[in-house]
Symmetry: D2
Subunit: 364 residues, 4 copies
Amino acid sequence: MGRVHSQAWRSVGAFYDLPVRPALAALAGRSRDHAVAAARRFGWAAVESDWKDLIDRDDVAIVDVCTPGDSHAEIAIAALTAGKHVLCEKPLANTVAEAEAMAAAARSAAARGVRSMVAFNYRRVPAVALARRLVADGRLGEIRHVRAIYLQDWLVDPEHPLVWRLRRDKAGSGALGDIGAHVVDTVAFVTGQQVTGVSALTETFVNERPLPDAPGTGAVTVDDAALFIGRLTGGALASFEATRYATGRKNSLRLEINGSLGSLSFDFEAMNELWFHDATLPGAEGGFRKIIVTDPGHPYLDAWWPPGHGLGYEHTFTHEVRDFLAAIAAEEDPTPSFEDGLRVQQVLAAVERSAAEESRWTAV
Amino acid sequence: MGRVHSQAWRSVGAFYDLPVRPALAALAGRSRDHAVAAARRFGWAAVESDWKDLIDRDDVAIVDVCTPGDSHAEIAIAALTAGKHVLCEKPLANTVAEAEAMAAAARSAAARGVRSMVAFNYRRVPAVALARRLVADGRLGEIRHVRAIYLQDWLVDPEHPLVWRLRRDKAGSGALGDIGAHVVDTVAFVTGQQVTGVSALTETFVNERPLPDAPGTGAVTVDDAALFIGRLTGGALASFEATRYATGRKNSLRLEINGSLGSLSFDFEAMNELWFHDATLPGAEGGFRKIIVTDPGHPYLDAWWPPGHGLGYEHTFTHEVRDFLAAIAAEEDPTPSFEDGLRVQQVLAAVERSAAEESRWTAV
Amino acid sequence: MGRVHSQAWRSVGAFYDLPVRPALAALAGRSRDHAVAAARRFGWAAVESDWKDLIDRDDVAIVDVCTPGDSHAEIAIAALTAGKHVLCEKPLANTVAEAEAMAAAARSAAARGVRSMVAFNYRRVPAVALARRLVADGRLGEIRHVRAIYLQDWLVDPEHPLVWRLRRDKAGSGALGDIGAHVVDTVAFVTGQQVTGVSALTETFVNERPLPDAPGTGAVTVDDAALFIGRLTGGALASFEATRYATGRKNSLRLEINGSLGSLSFDFEAMNELWFHDATLPGAEGGFRKIIVTDPGHPYLDAWWPPGHGLGYEHTFTHEVRDFLAAIAAEEDPTPSFEDGLRVQQVLAAVERSAAEESRWTAV
Amino acid sequence: MGRVHSQAWRSVGAFYDLPVRPALAALAGRSRDHAVAAARRFGWAAVESDWKDLIDRDDVAIVDVCTPGDSHAEIAIAALTAGKHVLCEKPLANTVAEAEAMAAAARSAAARGVRSMVAFNYRRVPAVALARRLVADGRLGEIRHVRAIYLQDWLVDPEHPLVWRLRRDKAGSGALGDIGAHVVDTVAFVTGQQVTGVSALTETFVNERPLPDAPGTGAVTVDDAALFIGRLTGGALASFEATRYATGRKNSLRLEINGSLGSLSFDFEAMNELWFHDATLPGAEGGFRKIIVTDPGHPYLDAWWPPGHGLGYEHTFTHEVRDFLAAIAAEEDPTPSFEDGLRVQQVLAAVERSAAEESRWTAV
């Protein structure tokens, strides 16, 4: 995460006209050696081995929190309190309580002109932003169905070690919080609606894995997969899935939406494409249209290359920091806010409660 | 349904070498005029206006039941009792009780050498049969995930009339029984596993529709869409969806299965294609393979055209009657049996109960 | 070919309302045993072992010529002279001279109300017919580019025997006449334009193959592949290719057309899909639209199944005989005419001349 | 071009471990104001308004030539003579004579340890590099067919102004040199074979266009499209096309190769995907496999993100400068060499001669 954030901060000013151009002031990392190496590689001017020292620096106006979820609340709240704008990786926190504290801190900071944003970078995929625009413009009509799934396969191998993402104390949850959070947020972003309740199943397929830095094995304490159905505020039926066991699916964040006037379909594995069906066209000509989202008129695309010269994963972060900087300069609150991050956290918590109670319907 | 069944009976003997070749003896229909016209068109030798007369005929050895679901039980049981082999359209019945009675009748008939089969024709899509073969051969390993959805859009228009499929008394249920039944059966067929329990949501988006043959409107008394999650006997997580409101999706029966050794993906809108990921190949060469299921080595394909000359919807029925006739000649019980049909019915009933009780987990 | 034609004749009346309904009067085949078996299988009422006897029959009004190309001219001309309507398989003939004689016979027959048609069945793929409709309606504007290729792979295996299609005396040419003829005709059909000249390459990759019915090998005397570029009457640039060595491509007849207002793309391996780009839509929404050509408003589709229930290769022949019968009943000349078949033959001849003379530009 | 090259030079050291890390010393541009703005934006330390001054600088070890083609020879030869390593944009030159002079200069410079490379960046698409690896490893067997086309549509609008790329004096040729050069080089790279001769057609569809910086119109003096067929050194048949009039195709560089053991297919509009058919697998499992080329084992991918997190157009340049720097450090000649660029130029010249002489076969 640090690498791609660094690249975004370094590159954004070369492509977007910004009222302020960021300088890479200082990088904090617990291992000073690693931090020094990373700083040299990415062009950070200084290094701190304690994040508190970073917050104390006068030459730091923005803090970008890329740590595991268990430290988000402490760092972000301290930074906001110190008057630093904060961009915080997702999920916002490991618990609803932490997320609530962060949202409260963000509200209070906003009153003082200090901005905060949670880094749901998939909102900044141009095709996803175009999807939102089409929905907001009413092109789908009333939304009836949403399917949002996020498939990876990096845990299919039972010998994959017990990294921090597989430990509840560090990561909060497993596939649910890591990638399920993304699809929950993406649905909220694209539809403008919230999940009102869920019925959920979770599963851990492999319970013991080799320790990453010692002999022996340890217990996997998070979900490997989460599957849930729910309803949105507008009445749509929605299904969600997050798994790291979808053999052959590398990073397949898929969204399909059916409305009374049209439909949309997206898969991050083909991130420059959005499929749009416009049911208001004559039926005999109707079909899902593969929009290659690389035209100057598409979201974020005015800054880049000629049509058909696609963007990559990296650029979602470039767009993210662009929007964050633009909001700071405009003295506006950027989105997704910590409040948005809290709402995602509340959905994740409802999913875990439902799964723990035989998939009982659980209001969010 | 009658048209495509008739075409299958007429065509099967021209393409498959069968121990018996069917003759189209008689067609029964409540409207004699319609039946006479249909018989002339499709080559049925005689016409009856009461199905009971059909069963009484000596020249009828097989009864193919294509009526709405509310009459399946009565007709099928009578035919079996009279010693006629029975092919019955899906869903097997409108209630579990009826399906149980039919399964009992089928067991009893089988003991007398009288065969029965429920017409889940999607089992006879060559790509679906190939999927089953790959799973049965262990090519997917342990199955972890199943996604099975069936999307249509013919009810998006609120002016679509209140046809019999939208009335509970005739159809039993809506999208759930009509197309949800297909995906439940297809999952059972391909995985060889059963659904053990579900949490479900159902919805009726448009509650009043124009009457088809009178002024005014009437109440839609079935579901427009059903969404449910569950588990399979082998431990996999499974999600299901059936809807007639998926704008732009015409007949998208989709199946995706992820196992420890591989994955499969299928969409009936491209019915001659099966996507297969073999995770045992070297990683750098790995990918979902688009198998065009038209080779002589593929299921059912030895009878047809050169490779790449695809089949259509119609041929799933040709394959179905071929298998039915082959089983009769071999004095074996064909599949899917009425027992299989009953199991599907039990899943549908569990879905309806769960949906009625706030998506409570409901064992099948 | 005989199988699929027979099935079309048997089925057409069951699906289309026709002023006349065909009866399968008699089948001619040099091997009486084979003919008897085929007649029984497909329901032909009688058998002849000499095609001349077939033409003499009073109960035969239509002759459908499915023999290899070297006998087309003799049979078709005799049948037309005898007052029989003639449907003749493609390519129309093995030489331009034969095709000219056939076209002359057809003109003369037409004056007497006797109809003829060449069986370029791919015109009757609904997606191809829809493509023509879009072009004819001006939806593509001025056509600039056409790419028409036909890829198969059944000769990749050097052990494939020396069947009649690989012998010049029987087949006239190789991939060029067998499948290249189809793409030349399809371009003429969809664009309404003719090829005005070509530069061509042909190649035979494997020169000796096992004899099919004797020990030893024999010489391949036809092309394995043909590649040519040309211009259309309207000024478009066009490229063509036909090969039986495109490993992994089973029956990939592909067409792509770019015009000033839009584009089309088609591949027979997904025969129910037509891709259409409408450049008059706002740019940010533009994209190739996958039209699933199964709606009642699509060509030929009013007779078949609900949307999304695809057709197969077989149905192109059902449509073909439907159109032929409709034209006969309407006392109109059906298309493609023998004149159309002659034009294709002239293109093929120009390709062969060009290839023989170092790909010299050769006017058609 | 300057923007994407700058971004590559700035980013390469952050992702790849390089023996030398580039510093952005100086940017030359005829307009000092533009150059200053660009330098500030992309981090170039200094600015020159004459490229000769750039070459004179002691702090410049590498010259990256991004000017229109008419100045490539002069600049590149001067830089090589001055002992600077040279990366030169494609096409190498506007004429064969210039390209020959450049190749001679490159040979002479190489003898002194001065390196040169032509910037055919599509070689550095990971999927294209993987295609080459598969061919080089013999996975395709003997190559029989190559189809290489490059489709854009930015000239469909007749009001698009007469930019320098449409003037022969600046650009040498039109679609042929701009994008046709890419596909010619890509074929050479992937197959390891050269074009031995061609038959060609070129066309200019719109002959007058608005002047970009003055009232009135001017003549388009280059081709809008080029279409040619040829043979490769190994005997394969090859077809090529380059056009800026393929409505709806934004940047569709497509390559399809059929060999005796397998096939490959690629389209830059989905740049992270390579389709591979392995004909040595059992036939019933065969199919084109969509390899998502984002795994650590794929070319260039060890430096980037987790699997499934795709790259963009920009990264082809990052890879290009990485390889260039690595070759300089290793004291090896990088590829594609100026000799490779010359060979492409010879093919383009043969195409133009053939097109001028009625598509006569023209040896390269």
